[in-house]
């Protein structure tokens, strides 16, 4: 005699009618079909600039493929601006040349302290 199939799904599955699954499939696909243009129109990537103590730089909202332009250099008292980096520790510099938006990004300003015998430049 063939042993009974001891499958967790067997008992639960027999109670689900096929028509219900058909409905789930159709509604699901329609939901995806509607959501994609909806999310696309409300979409866009956010490029934020964390100036890490310097003057504020506005966050940009871009669509895919839009060029990321280098913003105006932020200022911070007694510090020299070193550039925009992918991380706050300053390990990977961001290259604006040819850069375009393909994902949401936060860029961090990295500063180096002004040497003490150099008078702070007046901005």
């Amino acid at each position: 005699m063939e042993p009974k199939k001891k499958n967790v799904f067997a008992s639960a599955a027999s109670r689900i009618p096929i028509k219900l699954l058909d409905a789930v499939i159709i509604v699901g696909i329609l939901a995806i079909a509607v959501l994609i243009p909806f999310l696309s129109s409300r979409g866009g990537f956010t490029v934020s600039f964390d100036s890490s103590g310097g003057s504020e730089v506005e966050t940009r909202r871009l669509r895919y493929g839009d060029e990321i332009e280098e913003p105006e250099e932020p200022v911070r008292e007694n510090y020299v601006f070193e550039g925009w980096y992918y991380d706050s520790e300053g390990k990977r510099k961001f290259d604006f040349d040819g850069a375009y938006a393909e994902e949401s990004l936060t860029l961090y300003a990295v500063w180096s302290p002004l040497a003490e015998d150099v008078p702070a430049s007046a901005e």
Partner: protein, 349 residues
């Protein structure tokens, strides 16, 4: 009788029924392909040379982990620890292969280790966690969901502790040795002007090996037997506990390979590496026809699922849909794929 002969002998209602079943069973694929065509129309660079290489590369990076998890799904289980294992292996591999001159090196006095050694360490870590998963599932008859949920958390804790040792103090690990990054992300072949990274070829080799294991070894046949009917397999003389354990060990080895490749691919590794990777892998498997009721799955299905999923998500990016919003679409796709899978199972009964 071949399929064409069978079709010819069907009467009108049977044919209509067959067409309806075919349409519903493949509705998700048809929809996704249609979406790809529409996206290409809206944004013509979507299927351009560099973009295709990008899609293939991303698919290749996700393929080993999907192949590993597919084994667990065929056993009517799942493996929630996959992502964190990838993260742990990636961070360990990265920490052992940092460039010698790098200022933030985790182990400053260590010379550059040979790649083969670190690769073996990566596989060993993956296999060890896989062994724990498989052993607990097989020996204590616990559901893989619970077991792998626990190992997921334990592995994450281990990863957080690992990142604190040496010179690192919880930072992300970068500054990898160029021999490592060259081996993984370097390239000797290009499509047009876009280089194809080496890990694409490694993923292909791994896929062939997995195909061989699944289809040409007794272990593979036993895996499918245990997945579809563990009691019948047991009666036929298959050591069910051993098969279950080995499937999870094999999955763990796959995650180890993924971690080793991933560390070099993304360059900067932290505790967040690997987070939620198993979701994409499971989604790809379900879309590719690996059934949750167990015992059913094909390598070409997994490949198709991975590529199709990646194609869609790159496409959504082209439509400027933010990664956070893509989760909603991802969830709906998984839901529809599961409904289709369950429907196929019910119709068969």
């Amino acid at each position: 009788m071949s399929f064409i002969q069978r079709y010819k002998t069907m009467d009108k209602t049977e044919r209509a029924n067959y067409r309806k079943e075919f349409f519903i069973n493949n509705s998700l694929y048809m929809f996704l392909i249609a979406a790809v065509v529409v996206i290409q129309f809206i944004s013509p660079h979507f299927l351009s040379g560099p973009s295709i290489v990008n899609i293939i590369s991303l698919s290749a990076a996700n393929l080993p982990i999907a192949l590993g998890i597919a084994g667990a799904i065929i056993l009517t289980g799942t493996d929630l620890s996959a992502g964190r294992i990838v993260g742990l292996v990636a961070c360990v591999s990265a920490s052992l292969l940092q460039a010698t001159g790098y200022p933030n090196k985790m182990f400053p006095d260590m010379p550059t280790l040979p790649l083969v050694l670190v690769f073996v360490i990566a596989l060993a870590i993956g296999a060890l966690v896989g062994l724990i998963n498989g052993f607990c599932t097989a020996k204590f008859n616990l559901h893989p969901f619970i077991v792998t949920l626990s190992t997921q958390l334990i592995v994450y804790g281990a990863l957080l502790m690992y990142l604190m040792i040496g010179n690192n103090n919880g930072q992300s690990i970068s500054g990898l040795d160029s021999s490592y990054t060259g081996f993984i992300t370097g390239s000797f072949l290009s499509l047009g002007r876009t280089p194809i990274p080496n890990y694409v070829w490694y993923a292909l080799i791994i896929t062939v090996i997995m195909w061989f294991i699944w289809n040409k070894t007794a272990f593979g046949k036993n895996m499918f037997a245990v997945g579809s009917n563990p009691d019948a397999a047991n009666v036929s003389g298959v050591n069910v506990k051993r098969v279950i354990t080995l499937v999870f060990v094999l999955a763990g080895i796959m995650y180890g390979i993924t971690g080793f490749i991933e560390a070099a691919r993304i360059g900067s590794n932290s505790a967040a590496t690997g987070l939620n990777y198993e979701l994409d892998a499971i989604a790809a498997c379900v879309i590719g026809g690996v059934s949750f009721v167990g015992g059913i799955g094909k390598i070409r299905g997994v490949i198709m699922g991975v590529v199709l999923l990646r194609l869609i998500f790159v496409g959504l990016t082209f439509l400027s849909i933010d990664a956070n919003m893509q989760y909603i679409i991802k969830g709906l796709i998984i839901l529809v794929a599961c409904a289709i899978d369950m429907r196929k199972y019910l119709v068969r009964k």
